[in-house]
Amino acid sequence: MLKDVTFGQYYPSNSFVHKMDARIKFLLCLVFMVGIFFVQSFVVFGFITVFLIILIASSRVPLKSILKSIKGIIVLLLLTVVLNIFFTKGDPEKDKLLVSWWIFEIWDAGLYFAAKMFLRLVYLVMGSSVLTLTTTPVDLTHAIESLLKPLKVIRVPVHELALIMSLTLSFIPSLMEETDRIINAQKARGADFDTGGLVKRAKAFIPILIPLLVGGFRRAEELANAMNSRCYEGATKRTQMRVMKLTWRDLVGTLVVLLFFVTVFVIFGMKSQWINANVDWLYINDVNWLYF
């Protein structure tokens, strides 16, 4: 049941993407996520799709594990799509009114907008799950710690923040395991989580939540004691066992991603006048592919 959660589920492999430096992957992922929000046309979404396919293929993570991560935002997706379809008011001069019923109006612009929003969210999650599937949580925290280092100058406790993050991450699998065990134990005592009304079902979770909370506090206390007894002192003069080094892969990866985005955006993404002037060939049969 709980083993299906993809979050933090590292998919072990030896691919190009796996071997890249976590910091570079993290930064490129940020570029990808920001970039996605500037995409306005379906043509560019097509290019992003090609990019994602190449990325996923080179990471050797099965598509199934990546698609699984979308399951988590399905409610958000549906909500976004439905709201956008019904509440986007089109411009009567440019757009077509498709359906009008009571207070609801569906414009073709709304459909396009909803579709774009859908693609944006799905690609966002897919892109970031490539990062989490190819990078161990430990590497990821190290990467974040390393990237935040400059903030130390203004006295941000970077190391402590990274520690909190890595502890949180390391607690997730053990808490999930414990949840599984508690669920099993209560099931063995006849607990029923699948039938009954909303209130009854919500109540059925009390026997899971309370032991889980108690266990969480117990674990946290044990961990604090263990760290204290080993004289843990925070950031003072700590070294890392695995020092992260940049390799040719990171250079290649960065160049490929940046080149791709710059090219795509320069040719298609921008709406500014001087680019439009250069891409006249895109206006075929009076359809403006830039805005479509």
Binding site: M1, K3, Y11, P12, S13, E178, R181, I182, N184, A185, Q186, K187, A188, R189, G190, A191, D192, I206, P207, I208, I210, P211, V214, G215
Partner: protein
């Protein structure tokens, strides 16, 4: 969790009214078809009779816990056949409520499953779930179970289970399972983390439940000494398969093989083996210090 796969039903599995648990070619793989896939059970075939006290031992990761979780359908059968009492667990439709009432399962560190405001509520949780509507009846059963595990019902019934000591919490958790009057009691390391006295008390309770009430006991354990003294039969798991299925005395005659499986030889088994090597034949049921002492005295007296 796992969905039962389509399977070929093997008609060989014959059970009668004396059989508590019967498994035939039971296999189970965790995370099948993923890079984390791991075969936990591999062709498990066994038959446990009603009233037996069976210990399941094996190195960490040998499949013991996976096997016992099959017994009340917390893990569904992937392939092979499994019958527990009148239930056929290989079939999709199983009366889970009845099965789980009949097969009481005590998990590792059962005290971590306590949640209710009072000890009484916690012990009654299972009874309530299994549809016992009458409050007085529930309380009577809870009182009996709490008495069985050696706690003072009047003293603890209104206490929060979180205010009790570790050993007391474990007894409350055990009482929560015993209150349902299970026919089969499955326990996963019931004595782990207890002091010697707590261990002895839990074991003698389980033993008396087995002897006096005829409850079938399946106990997973790492402690060979307790297994040796209490169980009628020991099943040794190795890499998801059954390596041995025999009486304690017979099992520990294979000293080298047992050690090679990272299991230890119980003190009394070592002693009995040594006696045998020196020509003293003592009966197989002499497993405690006292019994062995008596047997040796009898031999001496006969000389």
């Amino acid at each position: 969790m796992s969905k039962p796969n389509k399977q070929v039903v093997t008609p060989q599995l014959v059970t009668d009214s004396q059989t508590a648990i019967a498994a035939d070619n039971l296999c189970f793989t965790y995370n099948a078809k993923s890079p984390f896939s791991k075969q936990a059970l591999n062709n498990i075939t066994l038959n446990i009779k009603k009233g037996e006290f069976v210990a399941v031992v094996g190195h960490t990761g040998s499949g013991k816990t996976t096997f016992v979780q099959h017994l009340n359908a917390l893990i569904r059968v992937q392939s092979g056949e499994l019958r527990v009492l009148e239930h056929n667990l290989s079939q999709k439709k199983v009366d889970l409520k009845l099965l789980r009432k009949q097969v009481g399962m005590v998990f590792q560190y059962p005290e971590y499953q306590l949640f209710a405001d009072s000890v009484l509520d916690d012990v009654c949780f299972g009874l309530k779930n299994f549809g016992l509507k009458d409050k007085a009846e529930r309380e009577a059963l809870a009182e009996e179970a709490i008495g069985l595990v050696g706690l003072d019902f009047k003293e603890v019934k209104n206490k929060s289970p979180f205010d009790l000591s570790g050993g007391e919490k474990r007894r409350v958790a055990l009482a929560g399972v015993l209150a349902m009057k299970p026919q089969i009691l499955v326990m996963d390391e019931p004595t782990a983390g207890l002091d010697p006295r707590g261990k002895r008390e839990i074991l003698s309770l389980v033993s008396s439940l087995n002897k006096e009430q005829g409850i079938t006991v399946v106990m997973v354990s790492h402690d060979m000494n307790e297994v040796y003294e209490n169980a009628d039969r020991i099943i040794v798991f190795r890499d998801g398969q059954i390596a041995y299925d025999t009486t304690p005395r017979d099992l520990f005659r294979n000293e080298e093989d047992i050690v090679s499986m990272n299991l230890e030889i119980p003190h009394m088994a070592k002693f009995a083996n040594e006696l045998e090597r020196n020509g003293y034949i003592i009966p197989d049921n002499c497993k405690t210090v006292e019994q062995t002492f008596e047997a040796v005295m009898r031999l001496k007296g006969g000389e």
